[in-house]
């Protein structure tokens, strides 16, 4: 037993030393880069690190970031309160942004540049957060088996001609919840519930766990149409340029294609407000939006900025200009509707 206790003591010592090592690495980073900005991000490291590295290279301001699950980060920020070291919360999906704002986490973002460059429907009406990059959630179809003349809207995917030919991602995906929320905003609850039931009736298989699985299923012939985020399509296309899949811009004749954003806001607990504003302003600039496009096939939030070549090849489309915070407000309602309609 004594050996055990000894080993225990050593291990705690080791961990203590290791932690100090980690801390000293951050102190080393502190010296060359003043005005460090601390970011809590629900976006994964491999998507944000290239951006932050480029920002540091151009401005000399260091970025310390930690990734986490969107909800968990909000709980953590609420619990940390004023003592939180974080300056910015970066997350994906309008609903998550709306929720963080509703919990009183953000302070108003006073940046004329952002206000003028980012369209109003991609920003919070009270300036609490801003969208940084855009993705569209639209119809994807098999170019071998589907005539695009037959496609029109999301709602139409519930019609009889698509019986047994539809693949959808699970309703558990936050992107689908936002889509349904947007549909509720445009069409009302009753009609949306009917649309969902029609979709479920047309499914070729149990809803897939991921958008990439929807794309795979269409390629394999399990189904002919689906709804995915444009960047998953883009990634697959970059790997397999000759794949027999195409995007179709839904609802062009009515409300416009549903879009969503990744976005960020400055936290109330921010110690480095100026640095945080600089970072956000940089993220909506040409360079950053170029990285968003090349790295992850996303659209720039700033409409004046050029689009990545591959992304551009999908064509221009009419965006749904519903304010995204409305999508956030309706998300819970959307979920309840989804559960009632039996969309798994």
């Amino acid at each position: 037993m004594k050996k055990g206790l000894f080993a225990l003591a050593i291990s705690i010592g080791l961990i203590g030393c290791a932690e100090q090592d980690n801390n000293s690495t951050t102190t080393q980073v502190k010296q060359p880069f003043p005005n460090e900005v601390v970011v809590y991000s629900a976006r994964a490291e491999h998507l944000i690190k290239p951006l932050f590295d480029e920002f540091t290279k151009q401005t000399g301001i260091g970025v310390k970031f930690q990734t986490g699950n969107a909800n968990a980060l909000v709980e953590r920020l609420k619990a940390e309160g004023d003592q939180s070291p974080a300056d910015i919360l970066m997350t994906v999906d309008a609903g998550n942004l709306w929720y963080a704002a509703s919990q009183g986490l953000f302070q108003p973002l006073n940046s004329a540049r952002i206000a003028s460059q980012i369209p109003a429907h991609l920003r919070d009406p009270n300036n609490l957060w801003t969208g940084l990059s855009v993705r569209a959630r639209t119809i994807v179809y098999s170019s071998e088996r589907v005539d695009p003349q037959q496609l029109s809207s999301y709602e139409d995917l519930g019609s009889a001609k698509w019986q047994g030919r539809l693949c959808l991602r699970t309703s558990g995906s936050v992107y689908n919840k936002s889509l349904v929320a947007a549909m509720i905003a445009h069409n009302g609850e009753q009609q949306t519930e009917q649309t969902l039931k029609n979709w479920v009736g047309n499914l070729a298989s149990k809803p897939q766990a991921k958008d990439s699985q929807v794309l795979d299923a269409i390629l394999a012939g399990q189904c002919d149409v689906g709804i995915v985020n444009t960047y998953y399509f883009g990634r697959m296309q970059a790997d397999k340029p000759d794949m027999a899949l195409k995007l179709f811009w839904a609802n062009q004749a009515s409300t416009g294609t549903h879009i969503n954003v990744s976005g960020a806001g400055i936290l109330n607990s921010a110690k480095n407000y100026d640095g945080a504003v600089k970072l956000l302003e940089w993220l909506v600039s040409d360079d950053a939006q170029g990285i968003y496009g090349a790295l992850n096939k996303e659209y720039p939030a700033n409409p004046k900025i050029g689009v990545d070549a591959q992304v551009d090849s999908w064509g221009r489309f009419k965006q749904d200009d519903l304010n995204l915070s409305r999508v956030g407000e309706l998300q819970q309602q959307a979920t309840m509707l989804i559960n009632r309609a039996g969309y798994e």
């Binding site: 037993m1 897939q208 766990a209 990439s212 299923a217 394999a220 559960n339 009632r340």
Partner: protein
């Protein structure tokens, strides 16, 4: 004060510490959320409960049959390839369940490699393997059978050859020997292994998500995400705990009242199989090894080779060392606690409050890591506010909060093997040593420690591997700079980048295998002992 009392107080303090997060979660019932429950009841509740119970039943049966069958074959029979296959059967333990999940779907689903190839050669339709329950049950059985296998194998090795020979002489068939002699001896071990597997099933989120199979745990997360209600999520978690308590009762009941103080060891394999039978057994065991290990690892390697240039960064050194340090630290702490508890139990009878607290503390294993982590975070913050308002204790707790989470979550894993090891110490040994004049420290180092070593090593290894694979609690509670391999696997696979995720998955696997090798090396002397 009597030194014994110091230990008792330490024990009490630790038990309370471990139980607090669970209590915090139970306290969620103080804030009812009727509207959400009404909605759940009307829509999802019956499905998720049915799904969860079926999954438990299916996987419970699966791991028991598979684990016991395999353990019996490798301990009691000689068949071609037994030597290699025996240790290969351990290997699936190092594979995280969700990795096997996405590999299986990538290989066997409609759009997967196998079915696509079959479609090119033969004109046929396809099968959605995610339909129904069998695929997710199969995957989980293949991932979790090692718990039962490891513990049953140990138990079967502690049989006495003469016992078996007598049974045969008295006319029992091999099956009779299994049913009447080996199985009762191994019952506690099998029950413990099955229970560990089922607790893992309860807490699993990644695998069931891949199959879009709604269980109680996936409902906990979706309730948290959709209704933003941590209260309801915590309340649902208490349902999980309820099921876990039920499982524990079942396990205790199936252990029976007997205590097995045997430290016999099998010294020869009773059944030397010949001909068709031998090859059938070899075939069966090989299929399990292939499905549970060779296939997924090959797929991971193929994916990894293509993407290693894109994925590798020097951050991997950090991630590997973080995973390793956390695993080692947690293993030492949990095994240490289990040893402490059992030492006290050795000296004096545990009072019922401690026993109750212990049972309670063991429940952590069934809790999904995320809920537990939030419970711990809120707990530390509440305590911090109460003890020293405004000091930000949470922020300075660093890696300790995470280690606490690991202790709560994985105490059950360490406790079983450690308790069984302590059971091999008979009172007569202690008396004999004492009567020969051994001091306590000599008793511990020369009598207890050699007997306990295999159990402690196995316990430590199981905790270490579990911690390295652990995701949700680590994701939430880790301080800055403590990213692990499991987090990298998650972030890549969450974005559908399975090929890139293969690289950290393989490194995790390698670390697990390294640990496995060390364990088998240390416990080598304890397999067959030739008299």
């Amino acid at each position: 004060m009597n030194p014994k009392h110091y230990w008792q107080i330490t024990l009490w303090a630790l038990i309370i510490l471990i139980s607090l997060p669970i209590l915090r979660i139970l306290s969620a019932w103080l804030e009812p959320s009727g509207a959400i429950w009404a909605h759940l009841y009307a829509t999802l509740l019956s499905d998720i409960l049915t799904n969860t119970l079926w999954l438990l039943l299916g996987v419970g049966l699966g791991v028991t049959l598979l684990g016991v069958g395999l353990a019996w074959f490798v301990t009691m029979c000689e068949f071609p390839g037994r030597r290699v296959l025996e240790w290969m059967l351990f290997l699936p333990f190092a594979i995280p369940a969700y990795v096997l999940g996405f590999v299986f779907i990538g290989l066997f689903d409609y759009a997967g490699v196998v079915q696509s190839a079959l479609r090119t050669w033969f004109d046929m339709g396809g099968l959605d393997i995610r339909d129904g329950r069998w695929a997710v049950m199969l995957v989980m059985t293949l991932v979790f059978y090692p718990y039962v296998y490891m513990l049953a194998r140990n138990a079967f090795y502690s049989q006495n050859n003469s016992l078996i020979e007598s049974a045969r002489l008295l006319g029992l068939t091999p099956f009779g020997v299994f049913w009447r002699v080996s199985l009762p001896l191994a019952r506690p071990a099998i029950a413990a292994g099955a229970m560990l597997s089922l607790m893992e099933v309860l807490a699993d989120f990644g695998t069931v998500s891949m199959f879009n199979y709604s269980t109680l745990t996936s409902a906990i997360f979706s309730v948290w995400e959709d209704f933003r209600s941590l209260q309801t999520a915590a309340q649902l978690s208490t349902l999980l705990l309820g099921i876990a308590v039920l499982l524990i009762f079942i396990e205790r009941w199936s252990r029976g009242r007997a205590r097995y103080d045997t430290h016999q060891r099998l010294h020869a394999r009773p059944y030397k199989l010949q001909g068709v039978r031998a090859w059938l057994v070899t075939g069966f065991v090989t299929i399990v090894v292939v499905l549970a290990f060779v296939l997924p690892v090959s797929q991971l390697v193929i994916w990894a080779i293509g993407y290693v240039a894109e994925e590798w960064t020097e951050r991997y050194i950090d991630w590997i060392s973080n995973s390793f340090i956390l695993a080692l630290g947690a293993a030492l702490l949990t095994v240490g606690l289990a040893v402490l508890v059992n030492s006290v139990r050795q000296q004096t009878r545990l009072s019922w409050p401690i026993k109750l607290g212990l049972r309670f503390a063991n429940l952590g294993y069934a809790l999904p890591g995320s809920v537990l982590a939030v419970g711990i975070m809120l707990l530390i913050i509440d305590l911090g506010e109460w003890l020293a308002p405004g000091s930000g204790i949470w922020l300075s707790s660093g890696v300790l909060a995470l280690l606490l989470a690991y202790m709560v979550r994985f105490l059950a894993v360490a406790y079983g093997p450690v308790e069984s090891s302590f059971d091999t110490i008979t009172p007569s040994m202690t008396e004999a040593a004492r009567s020969l004049g051994a001091s306590t420290s000599r008793l511990v180092s020369h009598v207890y420690f050699p007997l306990l070593k295999p159990g402690l090593v196995i316990a430590g290894f199981m905790v270490a591997v579990d911690v390295m694979k652990e995701l949700p609690a680590t994701y939430l509670l880790r301080p800055y700079g403590w990213d692990t391999l499991a987090i990298r696997v998650y972030e890549l696979s969450a974005e559908g980048l399975y090929e890139r995720a293969a690289i950290p998955s393989l490194i995790l696997l390698l670390l697990g295998l390294l640990g496995l090798y060390m364990v088998s090396h240390i416990t080598k002397r304890y397999k067959l002992r030739r008299h």
